[in-house]
Protein backbone atom coordinates (compact mmCIF):
# COMPACT_ATOMS: atom_id res chain seq x y z
CA UNK A 1 0.00 0.00 0.00
CA UNK A 2 2.76 2.41 0.94
CA UNK A 3 4.64 1.66 -2.27
CA UNK A 4 1.55 2.45 -4.34
CA UNK A 5 0.87 5.53 -2.24
CA UNK A 6 4.38 6.80 -2.99
CA UNK A 7 3.47 6.62 -6.68
CA UNK A 8 0.34 8.64 -5.98
CA UNK A 9 -2.14 5.76 -6.44
CA UNK A 10 -5.43 7.08 -5.17
CA UNK A 11 -6.68 3.73 -3.87
CA UNK A 12 -3.59 3.44 -1.70
CA UNK A 13 -3.98 6.95 -0.34
CA UNK A 14 -7.62 6.18 0.45
CA UNK A 15 -6.57 3.02 2.27
CA UNK A 16 -4.01 4.87 4.36
CA UNK A 17 -6.49 7.62 5.09
CA UNK A 18 -9.23 5.23 6.18
CA UNK A 19 -6.86 3.25 8.35
CA UNK A 20 -5.19 6.09 10.18
CA UNK A 21 -7.39 9.15 9.92
CA UNK A 22 -9.92 8.19 12.62
CA UNK A 23 -7.05 7.59 15.07
CA UNK A 24 -5.36 10.81 14.08
CA UNK A 25 -8.57 12.77 14.36
CA UNK A 26 -9.35 11.33 17.79
CA UNK A 27 -5.90 12.21 19.04
CA UNK A 28 -6.21 15.78 17.77
CA UNK A 29 -9.79 16.06 18.97
CA UNK A 30 -8.78 15.27 22.51
CA UNK A 31 -5.96 17.80 22.40
CA UNK A 32 -7.49 20.61 20.31
CA UNK A 33 -11.18 19.94 19.70
CA UNK A 34 -11.97 23.06 17.68
CA UNK A 35 -9.05 22.69 15.28
CA UNK A 36 -8.83 18.92 14.97
CA UNK A 37 -10.13 18.67 11.38
CA UNK A 38 -7.88 21.45 10.05
CA UNK A 39 -4.84 20.11 11.83
CA UNK A 40 -5.53 16.59 10.57
CA UNK A 41 -5.73 17.88 6.99
CA UNK A 42 -2.41 19.66 7.43
CA UNK A 43 -0.86 16.46 8.78
CA UNK A 44 -2.05 14.47 5.77
CA UNK A 45 -0.73 17.05 3.32
CA UNK A 46 2.64 17.13 5.01
CA UNK A 47 2.75 13.35 5.07
CA UNK A 48 1.88 13.22 1.36
CA UNK A 49 4.64 15.70 0.52
CA UNK A 50 7.19 13.60 2.35
CA UNK A 51 5.82 10.21 1.36
CA UNK A 52 8.50 9.55 -1.25
CA UNK A 53 11.21 10.10 1.32
CA UNK A 54 9.54 7.90 3.91
CA UNK A 55 10.96 4.44 4.46
CA UNK A 56 9.34 1.83 6.64
CA UNK A 57 6.26 -0.28 7.11
CA UNK A 58 2.73 0.75 8.04
CA UNK A 59 3.49 0.69 11.75
CA UNK A 60 6.37 3.08 11.19
CA UNK A 61 4.11 5.17 8.98
CA UNK A 62 1.60 5.43 11.80
CA UNK A 63 4.34 6.57 14.17
CA UNK A 64 5.52 9.07 11.58
CA UNK A 65 2.13 10.72 11.07
CA UNK A 66 1.73 11.08 14.84
CA UNK A 67 5.13 12.73 15.02
CA UNK A 68 3.89 15.19 12.37
CA UNK A 69 0.60 15.60 14.23
CA UNK A 70 2.31 16.40 17.49
CA UNK A 71 4.59 18.91 15.78
CA UNK A 72 1.60 20.56 14.13
CA UNK A 73 -0.18 20.70 17.46
CA UNK A 74 2.80 22.35 19.14
CA UNK A 75 3.14 24.84 16.26
CA UNK A 76 -0.55 25.64 16.43
CA UNK A 77 -0.44 26.24 20.17
CA UNK A 78 2.63 28.37 19.87
CA UNK A 79 0.91 30.43 17.19
CA UNK A 80 -2.30 30.74 19.08
CA UNK A 81 -0.31 31.42 22.24
CA UNK A 82 -2.98 30.06 24.39
CA UNK A 83 -3.78 27.05 26.46
CA UNK A 84 -7.12 25.58 27.27
CA UNK A 85 -7.68 27.19 30.64
CA UNK A 86 -11.44 26.87 30.81
CA UNK A 87 -12.33 23.22 30.54
CA UNK A 88 -15.83 22.38 29.48
CA UNK A 89 -17.98 21.93 32.58
CA UNK A 90 -18.02 18.38 33.71
CA UNK A 91 -21.18 16.62 32.70
CA UNK A 92 -22.40 13.72 34.73
CA UNK A 93 -20.84 10.49 33.67
CA UNK A 94 -24.20 8.85 33.11
CA UNK A 95 -25.19 11.59 30.66
CA UNK A 96 -22.18 10.71 28.51
CA UNK A 97 -23.64 7.39 27.51
CA UNK A 98 -23.79 6.71 23.82
CA UNK A 99 -27.48 6.55 22.99
CA UNK A 100 -26.83 4.58 19.83
CA UNK A 101 -25.40 1.66 21.79
CA UNK A 102 -27.44 -0.89 23.76
CA UNK A 103 -27.13 -0.08 27.42
CA UNK A 104 -25.68 -2.59 29.80
CA UNK A 105 -26.54 -2.58 33.45
CA UNK A 106 -23.13 -3.77 34.54
CA UNK A 107 -20.97 -1.67 32.27
CA UNK A 108 -21.86 1.81 31.22
CA UNK A 109 -21.21 2.51 27.61
CA UNK A 110 -19.32 5.72 27.05
CA UNK A 111 -19.36 7.59 23.76
CA UNK A 112 -16.04 8.15 22.00
CA UNK A 113 -16.57 11.91 22.12
CA UNK A 114 -17.13 11.86 25.87
CA UNK A 115 -14.04 9.73 26.41
CA UNK A 116 -11.95 12.10 24.30
CA UNK A 117 -13.29 15.04 26.25
CA UNK A 118 -12.33 13.45 29.55
CA UNK A 119 -8.83 12.62 28.33
CA UNK A 120 -8.52 16.15 26.96
CA UNK A 121 -8.82 17.41 30.52
CA UNK A 122 -5.70 15.51 31.61
CA UNK A 123 -2.33 17.25 31.72
CA UNK A 124 -0.93 17.33 28.14
CA UNK A 125 1.86 14.80 28.75
CA UNK A 126 -0.49 12.31 30.32
CA UNK A 127 -3.10 12.81 27.61
CA UNK A 128 -0.48 12.29 24.88
CA UNK A 129 0.74 9.04 26.38
CA UNK A 130 -2.72 7.65 26.97
CA UNK A 131 -4.05 8.63 23.55
CA UNK A 132 -1.07 7.25 21.68
CA UNK A 133 -1.03 4.05 23.67
CA UNK A 134 -4.77 3.39 23.39
CA UNK A 135 -5.71 4.84 20.01
CA UNK A 136 -2.70 3.79 17.98
CA UNK A 137 -1.84 0.66 19.93
CA UNK A 138 1.85 1.61 19.73
CA UNK A 139 4.10 0.09 22.39
CA UNK A 140 5.83 2.05 25.14
CA UNK A 141 9.13 2.31 23.26
CA UNK A 142 7.47 3.69 20.13
CA UNK A 143 5.39 6.20 22.11
CA UNK A 144 8.52 7.25 23.97
CA UNK A 145 10.25 7.85 20.64
CA UNK A 146 7.36 9.94 19.31
CA UNK A 147 7.18 12.04 22.47
CA UNK A 148 10.92 12.31 22.93
CA UNK A 149 10.77 10.76 26.39
CA UNK A 150 12.27 7.74 28.09
CA UNK A 151 10.17 4.55 28.16
CA UNK A 152 10.16 4.62 31.97
CA UNK A 153 8.71 8.13 31.93
CA UNK A 154 6.03 7.02 29.50
CA UNK A 155 5.04 4.15 31.81
CA UNK A 156 4.79 6.49 34.79
CA UNK A 157 2.75 9.03 32.83
CA UNK A 158 0.46 6.30 31.59
CA UNK A 159 -0.21 5.01 35.10
CA UNK A 160 -0.80 8.50 36.47
CA UNK A 161 -3.17 9.28 33.63
CA UNK A 162 -5.24 6.18 34.26
CA UNK A 163 -5.40 6.84 38.00
CA UNK A 164 -6.51 10.38 37.38
CA UNK A 165 -9.15 9.21 34.94
CA UNK A 166 -10.33 6.61 37.42
CA UNK A 167 -10.73 9.26 40.07
CA UNK A 168 -12.69 11.43 37.68
CA UNK A 169 -14.91 8.54 36.69
CA UNK A 170 -15.53 7.75 40.37
CA UNK A 171 -16.34 11.39 41.14
CA UNK A 172 -18.72 11.54 38.21
CA UNK A 173 -20.44 8.38 39.29
Amino acid sequence: VLEAARDGAEWALVRLYRTFHPKLLRYLQAREPMEAEDLASEVWLEAARGLRRFEGDESAFQGWIFVIARRRLIDFRRRADRRRSQPVPVESFSSLKDSSEPESEAIEIVSTEAALEMIGRLPPDQADVLLLRIITGLDVAEVARILGKRPGTVRVLQHRALKRLLKEVSDEA
Partner: protein, 229 residues
Protein backbone atom coordinates in the same frame (compact mmCIF):
# COMPACT_ATOMS: atom_id res chain seq x y z
CA UNK B 1 -13.51 -12.60 40.57
CA UNK B 2 -13.48 -9.20 38.84
CA UNK B 3 -10.51 -6.89 39.38
CA UNK B 4 -11.54 -3.76 41.26
CA UNK B 5 -8.20 -2.07 41.90
CA UNK B 6 -6.01 -0.26 39.45
CA UNK B 7 -2.46 -1.41 40.06
CA UNK B 8 0.31 -1.11 37.50
CA UNK B 9 -0.27 -4.55 36.06
CA UNK B 10 -3.99 -3.93 35.66
CA UNK B 11 -3.28 -0.59 34.00
CA UNK B 12 -0.87 -2.20 31.58
CA UNK B 13 -3.31 -5.02 30.74
CA UNK B 14 -6.09 -2.51 30.29
CA UNK B 15 -4.06 -0.53 27.81
CA UNK B 16 -3.00 -3.60 25.87
CA UNK B 17 -6.59 -4.91 25.65
CA UNK B 18 -5.86 -7.95 27.78
CA UNK B 19 -8.65 -6.85 30.09
CA UNK B 20 -12.12 -5.82 29.02
CA UNK B 21 -14.80 -4.09 31.11
CA UNK B 22 -16.38 -7.51 31.67
CA UNK B 23 -13.27 -8.68 33.46
CA UNK B 24 -13.34 -5.77 35.83
CA UNK B 25 -15.60 -4.53 38.56
CA UNK B 26 -16.59 -1.27 40.22
CA UNK B 27 -15.07 1.99 39.04
CA UNK B 28 -12.30 0.20 37.18
CA UNK B 29 -14.95 -1.27 34.89
CA UNK B 30 -16.12 2.25 34.12
CA UNK B 31 -12.55 3.23 33.31
CA UNK B 32 -12.23 0.21 31.03
CA UNK B 33 -15.42 1.29 29.25
CA UNK B 34 -13.89 4.68 28.67
CA UNK B 35 -10.71 3.13 27.24
CA UNK B 36 -12.79 0.84 25.07
CA UNK B 37 -14.70 3.83 23.67
CA UNK B 38 -11.47 5.22 22.24
CA UNK B 39 -10.90 2.03 20.26
CA UNK B 40 -14.28 1.94 18.57
CA UNK B 41 -14.32 1.64 14.78
CA UNK B 42 -14.40 4.87 12.80
CA UNK B 43 -17.65 6.82 12.74
CA UNK B 44 -18.86 7.98 9.35
CA UNK B 45 -18.43 11.64 10.28
CA UNK B 46 -14.76 11.01 10.99
CA UNK B 47 -14.25 10.24 7.30
CA UNK B 48 -16.40 12.99 5.86
CA UNK B 49 -13.39 14.91 4.53
CA UNK B 50 -11.93 11.87 2.80
CA UNK B 51 -12.56 12.95 -0.80
CA UNK B 52 -11.06 16.43 -0.46
CA UNK B 53 -8.11 15.33 1.65
CA UNK B 54 -7.18 12.38 -0.58
CA UNK B 55 -7.40 14.59 -3.69
CA UNK B 56 -5.08 17.15 -2.07
CA UNK B 57 -2.73 14.35 -1.00
CA UNK B 58 -2.57 12.98 -4.55
CA UNK B 59 -1.57 16.42 -5.85
CA UNK B 60 1.01 16.77 -3.08
CA UNK B 61 2.54 13.37 -3.84
CA UNK B 62 2.66 14.17 -7.56
CA UNK B 63 4.32 17.50 -7.03
CA UNK B 64 7.01 16.16 -4.71
CA UNK B 65 10.13 15.32 -6.67
CA UNK B 66 11.61 11.83 -6.89
CA UNK B 67 15.17 12.80 -6.04
CA UNK B 68 14.46 13.17 -2.38
CA UNK B 69 13.81 16.88 -2.53
CA UNK B 70 10.31 17.89 -1.65
CA UNK B 71 8.57 20.65 -3.54
CA UNK B 72 6.38 22.58 -1.15
CA UNK B 73 2.99 23.41 -2.55
CA UNK B 74 1.53 26.83 -1.91
CA UNK B 75 -0.89 26.70 0.97
CA UNK B 76 -4.29 26.91 -0.67
CA UNK B 77 -6.31 27.87 2.36
CA UNK B 78 -4.88 31.31 3.02
CA UNK B 79 -2.72 33.86 1.34
CA UNK B 80 0.99 33.20 1.95
CA UNK B 81 1.45 36.81 2.92
CA UNK B 82 -0.10 37.73 6.21
CA UNK B 83 -2.57 40.60 6.45
CA UNK B 84 -0.09 42.73 8.40
CA UNK B 85 2.60 42.16 5.79
CA UNK B 86 0.20 43.06 2.98
CA UNK B 87 -0.65 46.33 4.74
CA UNK B 88 3.04 47.12 5.24
CA UNK B 89 3.84 46.42 1.59
CA UNK B 90 0.92 48.61 0.49
CA UNK B 91 2.01 51.50 2.70
CA UNK B 92 5.58 51.20 1.47
CA UNK B 93 4.40 51.28 -2.14
CA UNK B 94 2.31 54.40 -1.49
CA UNK B 95 5.19 56.08 0.34
CA UNK B 96 7.54 55.20 -2.51
CA UNK B 97 5.22 56.65 -5.12
CA UNK B 98 4.76 59.80 -3.07
CA UNK B 99 8.52 60.22 -2.66
CA UNK B 100 9.05 59.71 -6.40
CA UNK B 101 6.35 62.24 -7.30
CA UNK B 102 7.74 64.78 -4.82
CA UNK B 103 11.22 64.34 -6.24
CA UNK B 104 9.94 64.92 -9.75
CA UNK B 105 7.95 67.94 -8.55
CA UNK B 106 11.01 69.49 -6.87
CA UNK B 107 12.93 68.97 -10.10
CA UNK B 108 10.01 70.49 -12.01
CA UNK B 109 9.52 67.46 -14.26
CA UNK B 110 5.87 66.74 -13.58
CA UNK B 111 3.10 67.54 -16.07
CA UNK B 112 1.81 71.09 -15.71
CA UNK B 113 -1.36 70.30 -13.75
CA UNK B 114 0.40 67.95 -11.34
CA UNK B 115 3.33 70.34 -10.91
CA UNK B 116 0.91 73.15 -10.11
CA UNK B 117 -0.97 70.99 -7.62
CA UNK B 118 2.25 69.99 -5.85
CA UNK B 119 3.49 73.60 -5.77
CA UNK B 120 0.20 74.80 -4.31
CA UNK B 121 0.21 72.01 -1.73
CA UNK B 122 3.79 72.85 -0.76
CA UNK B 123 2.90 76.52 -0.39
CA UNK B 124 -0.08 75.66 1.78
CA UNK B 125 2.24 73.57 3.92
CA UNK B 126 4.51 76.60 4.35
CA UNK B 127 7.23 75.34 1.99
CA UNK B 128 7.16 78.23 -0.44
CA UNK B 129 9.67 78.06 -3.21
CA UNK B 130 10.52 74.39 -2.60
CA UNK B 131 8.45 73.23 -5.58
CA UNK B 132 8.37 75.56 -8.58
CA UNK B 133 5.15 76.30 -10.44
CA UNK B 134 5.14 75.19 -14.06
CA UNK B 135 6.39 77.64 -16.65
CA UNK B 136 3.62 79.50 -18.45
CA UNK B 137 0.93 79.03 -15.81
CA UNK B 138 0.00 79.06 -12.18
CA UNK B 139 0.47 81.59 -9.45
CA UNK B 140 4.27 81.40 -9.68
CA UNK B 141 4.30 83.09 -13.12
CA UNK B 142 3.34 86.49 -11.84
CA UNK B 143 5.76 88.07 -9.45
CA UNK B 144 4.64 89.34 -6.10
CA UNK B 145 2.59 92.54 -6.08
CA UNK B 146 1.53 92.28 -9.72
CA UNK B 147 -2.14 92.74 -8.79
CA UNK B 148 -1.35 95.99 -7.09
CA UNK B 149 0.58 97.21 -10.12
CA UNK B 150 -2.25 96.32 -12.48
CA UNK B 151 -4.70 98.10 -10.19
CA UNK B 152 -2.51 101.21 -10.09
CA UNK B 153 -2.12 101.23 -13.85
CA UNK B 154 -5.84 100.87 -14.41
CA UNK B 155 -6.77 103.70 -12.04
CA UNK B 156 -4.05 106.05 -13.22
CA UNK B 157 -5.86 109.13 -14.58
CA UNK B 158 -2.80 110.50 -16.32
CA UNK B 159 -2.74 107.85 -19.08
CA UNK B 160 -5.17 107.26 -21.87
CA UNK B 161 -7.00 103.97 -22.55
CA UNK B 162 -4.52 102.59 -25.08
CA UNK B 163 -1.60 103.45 -22.86
CA UNK B 164 -3.31 101.74 -19.93
CA UNK B 165 -3.74 98.65 -22.10
CA UNK B 166 -0.08 98.64 -23.02
CA UNK B 167 0.96 99.17 -19.44
CA UNK B 168 -1.25 96.41 -18.07
CA UNK B 169 -0.11 94.01 -20.77
CA UNK B 170 3.45 94.83 -19.94
CA UNK B 171 2.86 94.17 -16.24
CA UNK B 172 1.08 90.88 -16.74
CA UNK B 173 3.23 89.40 -19.50
CA UNK B 174 6.53 90.99 -18.72
CA UNK B 175 6.87 92.05 -22.42
CA UNK B 176 7.95 95.53 -23.25
CA UNK B 177 6.19 95.76 -26.55
CA UNK B 178 2.58 95.24 -27.45
CA UNK B 179 1.09 95.37 -30.91
CA UNK B 180 -0.14 98.75 -31.98
CA UNK B 181 -3.82 99.11 -31.27
CA UNK B 182 -6.01 99.22 -34.36
CA UNK B 183 -6.92 102.64 -35.57
CA UNK B 184 -10.63 103.33 -35.26
CA UNK B 185 -13.32 104.62 -33.01
CA UNK B 186 -12.44 102.11 -30.30
CA UNK B 187 -8.89 103.39 -30.02
CA UNK B 188 -10.22 106.50 -28.49
CA UNK B 189 -12.15 104.69 -25.91
CA UNK B 190 -9.12 103.19 -24.20
CA UNK B 191 -11.12 101.27 -21.68
CA UNK B 192 -12.14 98.82 -24.38
CA UNK B 193 -8.53 98.04 -25.22
CA UNK B 194 -7.67 97.85 -21.58
CA UNK B 195 -10.40 95.29 -21.14
CA UNK B 196 -9.17 93.34 -24.15
CA UNK B 197 -5.65 93.34 -22.81
CA UNK B 198 -6.94 91.90 -19.56
CA UNK B 199 -8.58 88.95 -21.16
CA UNK B 200 -11.39 90.49 -23.09
CA UNK B 201 -13.76 90.77 -20.23
CA UNK B 202 -15.61 93.57 -21.90
CA UNK B 203 -16.10 94.09 -25.59
CA UNK B 204 -18.37 97.07 -25.27
CA UNK B 205 -16.94 100.22 -26.65
CA UNK B 206 -17.25 103.35 -24.65
CA UNK B 207 -16.45 101.97 -21.27
CA UNK B 208 -15.19 104.57 -18.88
CA UNK B 209 -11.91 104.58 -17.02
CA UNK B 210 -13.66 103.64 -13.81
CA UNK B 211 -14.87 100.39 -15.40
CA UNK B 212 -11.29 99.64 -16.37
CA UNK B 213 -10.34 100.42 -12.82
CA UNK B 214 -12.82 97.87 -11.53
CA UNK B 215 -11.48 95.32 -13.97
CA UNK B 216 -7.97 96.01 -12.84
CA UNK B 217 -8.98 95.60 -9.23
CA UNK B 218 -10.67 92.35 -10.12
CA UNK B 219 -7.48 91.08 -11.69
CA UNK B 220 -5.61 92.13 -8.63
CA UNK B 221 -7.97 90.02 -6.54
CA UNK B 222 -7.48 87.01 -8.74
CA UNK B 223 -3.75 87.11 -9.17
CA UNK B 224 -2.23 88.77 -6.17
CA UNK B 225 -2.82 90.56 -2.93
CA UNK B 226 -5.85 92.85 -2.79
CA UNK B 227 -5.36 96.36 -4.19
CA UNK B 228 -5.45 99.27 -1.88
CA UNK B 229 -7.65 102.06 -3.20
Amino acid sequence: MPVKRLDETTAQRLITEELTPEDLGGEVARLAALVEALRRPAHSWELQMEKQTVAAMAVAVESSSTNGRVVHLPYLGRSRMSRATRIKVGLLAVAGLLALATGLAVAGHLPEAAQNAFANAAERAGLEGLIPHPEGGGPGVLHEGVGEEVSDAATDDSTSGSDKASEITEITTGEDKVPEPPVGPQSETGAGNAAAANGGASETAGQTGSEASELGAGNADRRGPPSSD
